[in-house]
């Protein structure tokens, strides 16, 4: 169980007022909303760790759990990349820039980037799974010399599904190797075609014992990524995944997000592989 590091209010059920200050259309149906907290003091106090999420609240509609996808020093202007799918995200998309909403958070567990000094890092992302990993990339870029080799393996359904492509060049120039692939190519696509696990199969590791792998994407993709990583002798305790379940309260009190003994909102969404290894393949747990 992880104790919260930052509490914006004394009441974890209470949202703080905020506004959407910028909207970026990342790909069809996927938007990044930059949320700014209204109260300057709360704005100052907001801190999060890579991997955490906020509950974004559209009064009258409901709340949605959204990964924070910005740098940890985002100074109160907090980016959230979301696929427009349910009522809350649809109403957020319709309201757009200037929308008034509420925010509860940050909640959840974090990627182990703070424990990775001197290690080689492999990040494997599928589709919108790059969003919860982007804060890790920003962290790496901020302190590039803390880490060994850093590789991002990123797959999407099609080229238009690849997120943050305009930042990839900047990340590459900071010493991050990026390999992208798509499940289905479009006629002008010159890059890799095939599932992202193939990129991991092909990756040569300096030292599997000194490699930490963090992944986020569809569960089937993560399962095969784990298999590939284990074949490369990366230790189970160096594999980290971000899971998803139905979230309602975000604070481990409503029971919705339970997965085995874990509350995904409280013990996750980031898990070390061995914490969930025994239950990952039971699809109706």
């Amino acid at each position: 169980m992880i104790r919260p590091s930052v509490q914006l209010t004394h009441d974890p059920w209470l949202a703080v007022p905020a506004h959407v200050t910028e909207v970026i259309r990342e790909s069809p149906g996927v938007m990044t909303y930059e949320i700014t907290l209204d109260d300057p003091q709360t704005h100052q106090r907001f801190r999060f760790e890579p991997g955490q999420f906020n509950m974004l609240y559209m009064p009258g509609i409901g709340e949605a759990a959204i990964s924070i996808s910005g740098p940890t020093d985002c100074d109160g202007r907090i980016p959230h990349t979301i696929r427009t799918a349910g009522n809350v995200t649809r109403s957020l998309a319709e309201a757009g820039e200037g929308a008034a909403l509420g925010l509860r958070g940050p909640f959840g567990s974090r990627w182990p980037i703070a424990d990775c000094t001197g290690r080689d890092l492999v990040l494997v992302a599928g589709g919108i799974g790059l969003a919860p990993l982007r804060p890790v990339i920003y962290e790496i870029v901020r302190h590039r010399d803390h880490y060994g080799s850093v590789t991002l393996l990123y797959g999407a359904r099609s080229p238009s599904g690849l997120l943050y492509t305009q930042e990839h060049a900047a990340w590459r120039s900071e010493g991050i190797t990026i390999c992208t692939t798509v499940d289905r190519a479009e006629s002008d696509w010159e890059g890799n075609v095939g599932v992202v696990t193939l990129l991991l199969d092909r990756l040569r590791l300096n030292d599997p014992n000194n490699t930490t792998l963090m992944m986020c994407g569809p569960e089937v993709m993560m399962w095969y990524t784990v298999q590939s990583a284990l074949r490369k002798s990366i230790k189970e305790s160096d594999l980290w995944l971000s899971l998803e379940r139905n979230m309602n309260c975000g604070i481990g009190l409503c029971g919705h997000c339970q997965f085995g003994a874990q509350f995904v909102c409280r013990d996750g969404p980031v898990f070390r592989f061995d914490q969930v290894a025994s239950i990952l393949r039971t699809d109706d747990l």
């Binding site: 790909s27 069809p28 149906g29 996927v30 696929r83 427009t84 799918a85 649809r90 998309a93 319709e94 757009g96 599928g126 589709g127 919108i128 797959g155 999407a156 359904r157 099609s158 238009s160 599904g161 692939t181 499940d183 289905r184 190519a185 006629s187 696509w189 010159e190 890059g191 890799n192 075609v193 095939g194 599932v195 696990t197 193939l198 092909r202 994407g217 569809p218 089937v220 993709m221 095969y224």
Partner: protein, 165 residues
């Protein structure tokens, strides 16, 4: 990367494809193998054509493509170092089921499928090991293809933008 200095024997021994084959078997292979360096844009083999060579990629990238009427050539998969291309001669009738297009300068080892089959007939132990390795490569390709087929990101990427203001 200069492979011309290394013998084909050494390269074959290092390739995953030859795992489980004895040194004698590998040198048997090496006698009928050639080392190629291919520029981007070269077609290694074309869909529908008969092709005797099976290739082991050492470096670079190649794309497998199939032609679909009114869609043209559709890229299905990118193949990289350590992987096999063109096994139809070895396991089936020898008619290629896809076009292999080199997309970034590649070094490959080419092996004659008909020669490999002859060797397998006379030495079943060698043949068994060869087929095992080939089957493993095909199996892995099948799993990768299935993962593509599952369209895992489908619910993450709608076909079109929703009509939103």
């Amino acid at each position: 990367m200069k492979y011309s200095e290394q013998s084909i024997q050494e390269l074959l021994e290092a390739a995953q494809f030859t795992e489980g084959l004895s040194s004698e078997m590998i040198s048997g292979l090496a006698q009928h193998a050639r080392l190629l360096k291919v520029e981007a844009g070269t077609v290694l083999f074309a869909e529908g054509e008969s092709e005797d060579e099976i290739f082991v990629m050492l470096s670079g990238r190649a794309a497998l493509e199939m032609t679909v009427p009114r869609r043209g050539r559709v890229r299905l998969l990118t193949v990289g170092p350590g992987e096999l291309l063109g096994w139809s001669g070895l396991v089936d009738e020898g008619i290629m089921t896809a076009t292999a297009l080199v997309t970034s300068e590649a070094q490959l080892i080419g092996l004659s499928s008909s020669r490999l089959l002859e060797l397998s007939e006379s030495d079943h132990h060698f043949g068994y090991r060869l087929m095992r390795q080939t089957a493993r490569a095909v199996s892995r390709r099948l799993v990768a293809t299935r993962l593509q087929l599952l369209d895992l990101y489908a619910d993450m990427e709608p076909e079109s933008d929703q009509d939103l203001k």
